[in-house]
């Protein structure tokens, strides 16, 4: 999600905010459609109406909370990039934890710690998965035989008489 195709820093906040809103809106729409469908009284008409009502009321809420999370997250991330002068997974983990703490600030210190731990762990998992995927992709990349840059670096005794087959 955030670890690919990252924008340069100040605009990343807007990008993440909007992306998170869209993601929450669509995902919330899917889940609330099912939930509203199941919670409605009998009859197909009631059920579709219930699912529509549920989407209309709940999906923007979920999108909004996603957007707040994403926006605050990338704000802290950008601040840390500026302050530490480098971009690494620790940045995202710390900013995830701080975001969790800040958003739970009104519920007291205990809730802040719990929410911070949750945010940090989640972001650490996501970053770990991203690193794993990048490593996997790069290991796939090295399996491909590297193309010779220059004809003079070819091995002299090539079986195709200097004409290497490129597939």
């Amino acid at each position: 999600m955030e670890e690919y195709t990252r924008e340069p820093c100040p605009w990343r906040i807007v990008d993440d905010c909007g992306g998170a809103f869209t993601m929450g809106m669509i995902g919330g729409g899917i889940f609330q459609a099912i939930k509203g469908f199941r919670n409605s009284p009998q009859g197909l008409k009631h059920r579709f109406k219930g699912s529509l009502i549920s989407i209309r009321t709940r999906a923007p809420q979920l999108g909004g909370s996603f957007a707040v999370w994403g926006g605050l997250f990338s704000m802290i991330d950008c601040s840390m990039v500026k302050m530490r002068g480098k971009e690494d997974p620790w940045n995202s983990i710390t900013s995830g934890a701080l975001t969790g703490a800040i958003l739970a600030a009104r519920n007291g210190a205990v809730a802040m710690v719990g929410s911070a731990a949750m945010g940090g762990i989640l972001l650490a998992l996501i970053e770990g998965a991203g690193i794993c995927i990048t490593r996997f992709a790069s290991s796939q990349f090295t399996n491909v035989a590297p193309i010779p840059e220059d004809g003079s670096q070819m091995p002299p005794g090539s079986p195709f008489g200097g004409y290497q087959q490129y597939q």
């Binding site: 999600m1 992306g19 995902g27 889940f31 762990i121 989640l122 998965a129 193309i147």
Partner: protein, 79 residues
């Protein structure tokens, strides 16, 4: 995503591939997160033994599915 573009002009993965990869990644992350948080909440709930296993497994599957769906959407809106 900065996919390793091979020397033979290997094309970018298609949209569906990216969505699928996002779902896989989200599912893995969600399973791990569900294992962690599910264990805590089930222990607090007072589950022990076999019951605990079932509860943790259920939480893992649930959070894996939720995460995977959201991650797939997140990949889908960016391609």
């Amino acid at each position: 995503m900065p996919v390793a573009v091979g020397p033979y002009g290997q094309s970018q993965p298609s949209c569906f591939d990216r969505v699928k990869m996002g779902f896989m990644m989200g599912f893995a992350v969600g399973m791990a997160a569900g294992a962690l948080f599910g264990t805590f909440s089930c222990l607090r709930f007072g589950m022990r033994g076999r019951e605990l296993m079932g509860g943790v497994g259920k939480t893992m599957m649930q959070s894996g599915g939720t995460f995977g769906t959201f991650m797939a959407i997140g990949m889908g809106i960016r391609c």
